[in-house]
Subunit: 135 residues, 2 copies
């Protein structure tokens, strides 16, 4: 999963009124999933590598989910995550520089089929636009 | 937005290690957005009715976002939310019985173009499958 992307779709929120308020930025993205690689992609994500989870947390990513859905006969993935750090680009660079994360992406990238605009920009995940948010 | 749906796609999580742990169920759904109604739908969600937000919170919905994205020339909406209650069906029924929420749905439902399986089941939003989650 390549993050070096976006900022346009990020929303700002103060989360969980019962806790000390923490500012988070929300990100949501879409990409295609190759049908012949779907089972492998699901298998990978059912048992994600601890080293990759560790780097995600070190890069201030939390509450990160990926969903699968067929639309008009094609498979798509939707990602939602929250970023709690202060420098998204720097934190994403740490991920891109992490050997374990790069090894993970070598497995996941070939499963994904980026939407045209993402592909053109050399990205895996395409941005979405946040229309609504309720804390 | 009609919720009387799903349970299959819900994930369970313990959120925010710095707070008292709270069990939440995550839901993510997809539906189509009619191009001729897109601007009105965006406008509604840029200024959601306080009465509807109040009922959402009363029905134990939190951290609820809706994203828009074009895929293969068509417009789609992706919803992500967290449910913190103990009886999702009962809490959704409270929403469906709330006159303000029904009035809101009268505005939003005609903007949406459900995917075939959701339409067949009389629903607006189609379920997705959670493949991955990192707290």
């Amino acid at each position: 999963m390549k993050f070096h992307l976006l900022a346009a779709s990020a929303g700002i929120a103060v989360v969980a009124s019962s806790c000390a308020p923490a500012k988070v930025q929300r990100y949501a993205w879409v990409t295609g999933l190759k049908p012949e690689k779907a089972e492998y992609y699901r298998k990978l994500h059912a048992n994600p590598w601890p080293s990759v989870s560790k780097q995600l947390r070190a890069s201030n990513i939390r509450n990160f989910s990926i969903y699968e859905r067929d639309i008009a006969g094609k498979k798509y993935l939707f990602a939602y995550l929250e970023y709690t750090g202060k420098d998204f680009a720097a934190d994403m660079k740490k991920m891109a520089d992490d050997p374990e994360t790069r090894r993970w992406w070598k497995e996941t990238d070939p499963c994904q089929s980026p939407l045209p605009d993402a592909k053109k920009a050399g990205k895996i995940w395409a941005d979405t636009t946040e229309l609504y948010h309720l804390d």
